[in-house]
Point group: C2
Chain length 129, copies 2
Amino acid sequence: MNVRPASNTESSSLPDKPVGRRPVSQRARGLSHTHPADVSLHDALAALADPVRRAIVRELGHVPDWSKACGTFDLAVSKATRSHHFAVLRQAGVIEQRDEGPRRLNRLRRTEFDAAFPGLLALVLSESS
Amino acid sequence: MNVRPASNTESSSLPDKPVGRRPVSQRARGLSHTHPADVSLHDALAALADPVRRAIVRELGHVPDWSKACGTFDLAVSKATRSHHFAVLRQAGVIEQRDEGPRRLNRLRRTEFDAAFPGLLALVLSESS
DNA sequence: TACAGTGTTTGACGGAGGTCGATCACCATG
DNA sequence: CATGGTGATCGACCTCCGTCAAACACTGTA
């Protein structure tokens, strides 16, 4: 399998602000990501089998990458539970997160996740409610 | 949506033994099926999020329809648990069952389920172990 | 009728995980 | 430095569900 650089955000594909001067905030150190290709089918299904997490994914599917912080989601759970669900989605390779000042921005790993589990993300994104 | 005949096995597409003389065994009365189109994404994902149930689906993907009874699966659980998992898969529209003498034969609802949840079944069937 | 084979149902148990309030850590701004 | 905003962590609670043994139900055969 194609080996990926482990310690690299290797994400956005955004021609972003020159990352040279932005030494990764302190909080971002605890941010461990998992590439979809390293995720088992069980973990992927278990992650998406929760209605709150699917709501996050759907909401994330309606906005551009890195445009939505964790707190801006319309969820009927406490922020502790919210934080837990984001961690699960991140470790299942569904989303990617990046710290921008005090808040944590999110991005759906559309192409990578779809490459690992074809059609799965589309099912969630096309879910009605 | 296309309304389906509710009280019809509407299944096998097998040019079978003339069903005229076979008045549906007594046990088959408790056999309630759910068409994949009537299954929510949540129920579908929840059904396939269990390793034992995925093992059943995979094993069922390697044999022809109606060729495998519940007891012939290689599962490391008791027959009570086994029976439970088959019921979950049936109510999730993943499998269809039919009584043949003392045993219950199974069939994977490939086309119907794939029409309702494109790619989902393929993911499970292509799972390695 | 009796028996063996197959599968379901029931009741109980235990663990996994979703949930919350409280607390803590980090960031920006005044 | 103090404050408010955002998010993570901790500990506890509780529900759900996977699990099993036991008992039951149905089928075919002797």
